[in-house]
Amino acid sequence: MSHIAVVDLGTGNLHSVGKALQKVTAKQRIVITSDPNVITSASHVVLPGQGAMGSWFRALDEHDLRAAVVNALSTCPVLGICLGLQALYSHSDEDGGTTGLGIMSGNVRKFPINQRLNNELLKVPHMGWNRVQQCFSHPLWTGIEDGIRFYFVHSYYAYSDMVSEIAALTNYGLSFVSAAAHSNVFAVQFHPEKSHEQGLMLLHNFVCWNGES
């Protein structure tokens, strides 16, 4: 029987991701795992992430999961969430500069502190419900209203000029990539597992996705 692997690097709250996925699929088993074999044999892989990019990559190597994750990124439907989106880019400024997986073209940088918009201080982290403007149609956007709000919490953001990979943009003083797509890989900066019904809808679309766009 096929299963969905949620990559566990031991840092974040994966309970919610697991529960939310279980809510949207009756057929597939959800396995939260640090075992490369379980990732390699999965039908779908979820790459969540919290905390800092440098320690995320250190944990990836300490758990010996880099090869399995890289393999999944070219073979099966993968959903990156939060840091799992940022890790797909070439480079992040976080932790004194961190090299990413380079699946998506672009870089990750920090929101400026003390930036004001209409005289209001833009707080960092960018935390709360913000609008996600879809840039093109994609199986993962099925049934999700364009411009609806999802829940975000992050201090770094991805920017890219590769239009074909920008699945959605969000504005917080500046425009950043809130969803990215590249063949069998889809990634979101927001937390679908914390975004009410529209979040569950996106997860449902993911577990039903065959990786083609």
Partner: protein, 252 residues
């Protein structure tokens, strides 16, 4: 600006049960955290905060089960506070399904805990809760549920906690808490202006206009309230509609 201001209902939990009389029409068990959380989720709450008011460490385990049960049913962010002492407590709550933990007394006793926790778990999940009371022209931090004065100035404490790695501040005015006279706007705006991270205003909400002034005059990113929602006076949705008519962006 498209980021919505947040409304966060706060639930006091004692021994695994919601206390302080939540009164919803048609709710079967008003003490059941899962049922209450579901109801707020339906009303479009932006997040939920659970405050564990249990003193004993035995009941702490019950709180972990509460978090697990709620996180399995409600898919919006959950914050858990009350009695969080060390890295082990934080790990337990996050592992059970909490998205954030709020640290109050332990941050005063050991500010390094905030640094250690934010480095390990990420600052996005570390909320520093501050109980502040007016003292002359400034505000003083109190710990242990508002029992112990510390002599620490609230504004400088907030700044110190940002430097330590806090991702958000939950600011409660002890002078206003329970009064229904509205937030301490001066306090809220003094702290909010002094820090780069989001501030949640808390303490004193008695009518919808108070939520508006917390955001507009206080500069808060979110407002926390208990009784006006618990007793069914207003739903979260009604509160959001009201705020929207006053020009505040909300997630409706």
């Amino acid at each position: 600006m498209a980021l919505a201001k947040r409304i966060i209902p706060c639930l006091d939990v004692d021994g695994g049960r919601v206390v302080k009389g939540v009164q919803f029409v048609g709710i079967v068990d008003a003490g059941d955290p899962v049922e209450v959380a579901k109801r707020y989720d339906q009303q479009k709450a932006d997040e939920l905060t659970f405050l564990d008011i249990t003193a004993s460490s035995d009941a702490r385990k019950i709180m972990v089960d509460v978090v697990k049960a709620v996180a399995g049913e409600v898919f919006i962010p959950l914050t858990v506070g009350g009695g969080i002492r060390d890295m082990q407590d934080i790990h337990q709550m996050l592992h059970a399904g909490a998205d954030k933990v709020s640290i109050n007394t332990a941050a005063v006793d050991n500010p390094y805990l905030v640094t250690e926790a934010s480095m390990y778990f990420g600052s996005q999940c570390i909320v520093v809760a501050m109980d502040a009371k007016k003292n002359g022209s400034s505000w003083e931090i109190y710990t242990h549920g508002g029992r112990n004065p510390t002599g620490i100035d609230a504004v400088s404490w907030a700044q110190k906690m940002v430097d330590a790695g806090a991702g958000e501040i939950l600011l409660t005015s002890m002078d206003r808490d329970g009064t229904r006279d509205g937030f301490d706007i001066e306090l809220t705006s003094a702290v909010s202006d002094a820090v780069s991270i989001p501030v949640i205003a808390s303490g004193g909400v008695g009518k919808l206009e108070h939520l508006v002034s917390g955001i507009v005059e206080g500069g808060a990113s979110a407002v926390l309230a208990a009784s006006i929602f618990h007793f069914g006076e207003f739903t979260i949705e009604q509160a959001k509609q009201y705020m929207e008519t006053r020009g505040i962006e909300v997630n409706l």
